[in-house]
């Protein structure tokens, strides 16, 4: 009867090793791709005027960074993104909270938002130009518009999905409306808020790229547009690389924030 029991000595040490190995194996395929790309560009398989070699892109990046151009463009783009995200994001959270928590908010706010959702906001560019002109306002409005919807819908769903029984229990502990918001509604909706924030950042960047191609004098989008006119493929690719890096960095930042604030979920997974 007991002969089928196998000793459980062998397993545990392999687990952590497999984790670290997995980490660096994820780097292999991008590196291989990079090497293949470089080789193809050097040997002329890829025409240099269409696709520059990665080393050339890096060189261009270094040159532009050294003379300060890159920093200016990057800072301007980041500023626009942050202001737009701040305006669109806070508006989204406030309106979503009002719609999710108050019946009158739900009746007045949600229908128009649901209708506006169906409009592709980048299609509003002509109208926005008439309304706010072609200056900074246009870029910021576009980012705000782009980031508004994902954050609105996720916040709304996050609040609505909170277990009503938890709210009741908290009320029997004597919490007032404000304390309920702080101790139950906000932490309960936080995972959805983070998801909304991720999507909002993505949508915000996308909007900014489009916005910066309309009469901008600075910004990564402008840099790429200008480079296209002079057929500087390396600068165009550099711009794409920067967008990718910014996306990566914002994702890492949000992951970090999530880890700090959602520790209770890790506890949940551990059991």
């Amino acid at each position: 009867m007991t002969t089928t029991v196998t000793p459980a000595v062998l397993k545990p040490p392999t687990v952590p090793r497999r984790r670290t190995r997995k980490r660096w194996t994820r780097l292999v395929s991008p590196l291989v791709l990079l090497v293949v790309w470089e080789a193809a560009a050097r040997t002329g398989v890829l025409p240099p005027e269409k696709v520059p070699a990665p080393s050339l892109v890096a060189e261009t990046g270094w040159r532009l960074a050294a003379d300060g151009q890159l920093t200016t463009h990057l800072l301007d783009s980041l500023t626009r993104a942050l202001i737009g995200l701040g305006i669109g994001g806070s508006l989204a959270v406030v309106l979503a909270a009002a719609a999710a928590l108050l019946r009158i908010g739900d009746d007045t706010i949600d229908p128009p938002v649901q209708m506006a959702r169906m409009l592709p906001h980048l299609g509003l560019v002509p109208l926005l130009i008439i309304w706010v002109g072609i200056g900074e306002e246009l870029k910021i409005s576009l980012v705000a518009l782009g980031s508004f919807f994902p954050l609105y819908f996720n916040t709304y769903a996050g609040i609505r999905d909170i277990d009503q029984r938890l709210v009741e229990a908290a009320r029997t502990c004597g919490l007032n409306q404000w304390q309920l918001l702080r101790h139950v509604v906000l932490p309960g909706a936080l995972p959805s808020l983070f998801l909304g924030l991720r999507l909002a950042i993505g949508a915000g960047w996308l909007s900014l790229v489009v916005g910066e191609q309309v009469n901008a004098q600075t910004g990564i989008g402008f840099l790429m547009m200008e480079a296209r006119e002079f057929a500087q493929t390396d600068v165009v690719v550099l711009g794409l690389v920067i967008y990718a890096l910014l996306g990566l960095i914002s994702d890492v930042l949000i992951r970090f924030l999530e880890k700090r604030t959602l520790t209770w979920r890790r506890g949940l997974q551990a059991t």
Partner: protein, 236 residues
């Protein structure tokens, strides 16, 4: 038995309907100061509905409700906030610098003084329910509203929890309205037992057994038989 203590909770003529289904239809009851009253009734008879009304969680029910302001509630599920550590759950709604000390003291009373830093998800069902009891007790209420608090626990744990509640009551002297479908639990813990049927209190018996009680006590089985009959479970 001649003088009943001054009443702590009085509700009369409660009415509640969900659409066309009338759940409460003129239910009235009182709970005296320091008294434990069990509320029995078949599944779906409206026990939880009644308790929710008493706890002020149902705004549109008819009737007069007079509940002391300092009451605590324990639900059938623990209903702890998963994003707060155990001690913070117990301290929820407490004010002042000694909030944490009081929470830890309440946790110690239910035997979980060392689990204050755990997440609710890390507790067993019985432990989580004890934390819920501590959360209700920490405000030192004069009345506890309990909705099948041990219904989801295994038989052994339930027995321990019943003894714990008995001890806590002896120490703190709170009154309690204990919703249960367990006739034995009612007879072990309650001074009186009420049966809810067709939306009103159809039966009220006093439980004159001396404490501490035991299922083998003389008189216990007679009362149990009577209540089971009343709940529609006749002897075979």
């Amino acid at each position: 038995m001649a003088t009943r203590p001054a009443s702590d909770l009085t509700v009369s003529d409660l009415h509640k309907a969900f659409g066309d289904t009338v759940v409460l239809d003129g239910a009235s009851l009182t709970v005296g100061r320091g008294e434990v009253v069990a509320l029995l009734g078949g599944s779906g008879s409206g026990k939880s509905t009644l308790l929710r009304i008493l706890a002020g969680l149902d705004a549109d029910a008819g009737g007069t409700v007079d509940v002391p302001p300092d009451f605590g509630v324990v639900f059938q599920e623990h209903r702890l906030l998963p994003w707060k550590r155990v001690a913070d759950n117990v301290a929820l709604g407490l004010h002042g610098a000694d909030a944490r000390t009081r929470a830890l003291a309440a946790l110690t009373e239910v035997g979980l003084g060392d689990r204050g830093d755990a997440w609710p998800a890390e507790l067993s069902g019985g432990q989580a329910q004890r934390v819920a009891v501590a959360r209700a007790l920490v405000r030192e209420p004069s009345l506890l509203l309990l909705d099948e608090p041990f219904g989801a626990l295994d038989a052994l744990t339930r027995l321990r929890m019943q003894q714990l509640l008995e001890r806590l009551r002896a120490r703190h002297g709170f009154a309690a309205l204990l919703v249960t479908h367990d006739v034995d639990e009612a007879l072990l813990l309650a001074d009186r037992a009420l049966v809810l049927e067709s939306g009103r209190i159809a039966e009220e018996i006093t439980v004159p057994l001396p404490r501490p009680r035991h299922q083998d006590d003389p008189g216990f089985s007679g009362l149990r038989r009577h209540l089971l009959d009343r709940l529609g479970v006749p002897a075979v």
